[in-house]
């Protein structure tokens, strides 16, 4: 009772990274709150994944298995989640901010009248004193997220409603297995008692899930372009530099919106979060929307012809000038010096 439950997302028989990241975060929150960390695993033939959840600190896996639950569907999955939360009364419930988590979590929060904060970038435990009533609260979940297009950082709390629910994007939290798996147990949910035929009125008739082709998250070097790169053609220079340095190309939201790069390359609050060894920001102004997704990079180089661009302020090296001159010079210099 009053534990932390992490919703576990699976795709193609494996656990999504974001769920393992949330377990890692949930483990430390549970230690702080002296409560248990639990997982909710829904699917078809997914029981064997429990071992991995134990390795990431889940002490109990609530397992809902059924042939009809092969793929995520809003109604049956939310019915199971709502029913479990009603029984278990978790104090905190975390979901990945994925197409699944962002479809499921609001539905659950609406049914339970519990608050939900989307796309948190940080989760902490803390107290609160209500200004009007003077009522004090301990051990609330601080749900910290950028808002207003990323121009402010808001700390959200749910003082009186449980569970305190939040979604977190993939890559925002660190994923760390325990040295030794906990001795957890599996608790089966009787799906047939919860799910009715009426929950399957929306039918999936076709599904194409592609393996992620672009892996900017795992790349040690990222060359990211913004709107200032100017065109899709100019982005080729970035690919040239990336291939020389053994890196990947990323993009800001403005560059993706302008069609310079594909959405899978988007870095920032509404894209992926990265922390490479080297981040080269080209023609990126440096709005918080973007920097929220890259400011943890070990080293940042900014290239921008506007000396006042905010990106220069978070850069270790700020190069003021034209990318069409600078990038070829970087390539030339690297080729001369790398041997």
């Amino acid at each position: 009772m009053n534990n932390i439950i992490i919703y576990i997302e699976t795709e193609g028989g494996r656990i999504a990274d974001v769920s393992l990241e949330l377990l890692t975060k949930g483990r430390s929150l549970a230690n702080q709150l002296s409560c248990k960390l639990e997982a909710l695993l829904i699917g078809n033939n997914v029981e064997s994944l429990s071992e991995e959840l134990f390795l990431y600190g889940a002490e109990k896996v609530h397992l809902a298995q059924d042939k009809r639950l092969e793929f995520y569907q809003t109604l049956p999955y939310s019915a199971i989640t709502i029913e479990l939360f009603k029984q278990e009364k978790p104090q905190i419930a975390l979901f990945g901010a994925t197409s699944v988590g962002r479809d499921l979590a609001p539905r659950v929060s609406s049914s339970l009248m519990s608050g939900l904060t989307a796309d948190c970038t940080s989760l902490e435990i803390g107290g609160h004193k209500e200004a009007k009533s003077g009522k004090e609260y301990n051990n609330l979940l601080y749900q910290i997220r950028p808002a207003f297009g990323g121009n402010i950082i808001a700390t959200i709390i749910n003082p009186d409603h449980r569970p305190q629910m939040a979604t977190v994007r993939e890559g925002v939290m660190k994923k760390e297995p325990l040295e030794k798996a906990v001795k957890g147990k599996v608790s089966s949910i009787d799906v047939s008692k919860i799910v009715t035929d009426n929950d399957f009125i929306v039918q999936i008739i076709e599904r194409h899930i592609e393996d992620r082709k672009v892996d900017i998250k795992g790349s040690p070097v990222i060359i990211a372009g913004g709107f200032g790169v100017g065109s899709k053609e100019n982005f080729k220079l970035l690919y040239d530099l990336a291939s020389v340095l053994g890196g990947e190309v990323g993009a800001s939201r403005a560059a993706v919106d302008a069609g310079f790069a594909e959405p899978a390359r988007q870095i920032g609050q509404t894209g992926v979060t990265v922390r490479p060894k080297l981040y080269i920001a080209v023609g990126i102004s440096g709005q918080i929307q973007h920097t929220a997704g890259m400011d943890q990079s070990a080293m940042i180089i900014s290239i921008n012809n506007d000396p006042a661009a905010p990106i220069h302020q978070i850069a270790d090296y700020a190069i003021i000038g034209d990318l069409n001159e600078i990038i070829p010079r970087m390539i030339k210099s690297y080729k001369q010096n790398s041997k």
């Binding site: 479809d103 608050g115 904060t117 959405p263 302020q313 090296y317 600078i326 690297y334």
Partner: protein
């Protein structure tokens, strides 16, 4: 006789957070929110287009905008008219103020019950919050199925809509009976432009509050035609339990707001000269950052 739908499009007036230019920055480096223009939320435009396409395919269908906000949000309804919508309702009441996504969804769902549409279409998310919660929460409040991230509402057969969804790593096509709530992704087609005739016809459409303002501020012609009246609904018009509206209906509270101030850290300034770049690259190589 072909099918006719009553379609409600949920739309929100939002500050244009995508274009925070230098003139929107205050001296302390934070954003001056008042300086941002108010716009029709971009993905709600994609939602409107999907509704108008259904109307094209099923003549006689009706497209209504529903928006919640202060009096100036009536602009959203007019914009809808200009692009081919048949009407709209502005939900406005001080009692709605301070609503989080859940209290917003409650208010919208109460208004939707009053309109009783066949299909509800909304943008996936609004750019001021990027939460993507209101669509699914409205669906839950109405006890309706939801189809999120729609890219194309492809057709209607045997009582079901066929909808293509854009997921993170692929696409999915589903069939969904109506009534249903659909949220539309930015990758769906852009909204058609304003129609000149509609613009001329509806530019004087006003809410009662706007007309009353005009009496004091009479450079705009007074609107006398009842058909040009944009309805304003308050809590008393849509009913429901007052505790569920506004601040009291919002489980989430904002504890703290920090404005982003761009912090200066030690950054070395370099020029585009080859010597500068060459020494940087050499440094990166010797520190094993690259190579």
């Amino acid at each position: 006789m072909s099918k006719k739908f009553k379609i409600v499009v949920l739309a929100k007036q939002v500050p244009d957070t995508r274009n925070v230019g230098k003139n929107a920055m205050k001296e302390d480096g934070t954003v001056n929110r008042a300086a941002l223009p108010a716009i029709f939320n971009p993905e709600d435009m994609n939602a409107l287009e999907q509704a108008l396409r259904l109307k094209d395919r099923f003549p006689g269908s009706e497209v209504l905008l529903l928006t919640m906000g202060p009096g100036r949000a009536a602009e959203v309804i007019r914009e809808g008219y200009y692009r081919g919508a048949d009407g709209g309702v502005l939900l406005t009441d001080r009692k709605f103020a301070g609503a989080d996504t859940l209290a917003t969804s409650y208010a919208l769902s109460m208004a939707i019950k009053k309109i009783s549409p066949d299909i509800i279409i909304a943008g996936r998310q609004a750019i001021d919050g990027d939460t993507a919660q209101v669509g699914p929460q409205v669906a839950e409040k109405l006890n309706l199925p939801q189809v999120t991230y729609a890219e194309d509402i492809q057709g209607f057969e045997n009582g079901k809509l066929t909808i293509k969804r854009r997921l993170e790593r692929g696409v999915e096509t589903v069939q969904c009976p109506i009534p249903a709530v659909i949220t539309v992704h930015a990758t769906a087609p852009d909204c058609r432009p304003r129609n000149a005739k509609q613009l001329m016809r509806f530019k004087h459409a006003r809410t009662i509050s706007e007309e009353q303002d005009n009496e004091h501020n009479s450079y705009l012609p007074l609107n006398t035609k009842e058909s040009m009246r944009i309805p304003e609904w308050s809590v008393s018009d849509v009913g429901g339990d007052e505790i569920n509206y506004g601040l009291s209906g919002s489980p989430t509270k904002v504890k703290k707001i920090e404005n982003i101030v761009f912090q200066a850290k030690e950054s070395k300034k370099l020029t585009s000269a080859y010597e500068d770049i060459n020494s940087l690259i050499c440094e990166l190589i010797s520190s094993h950052t690259i190579g």
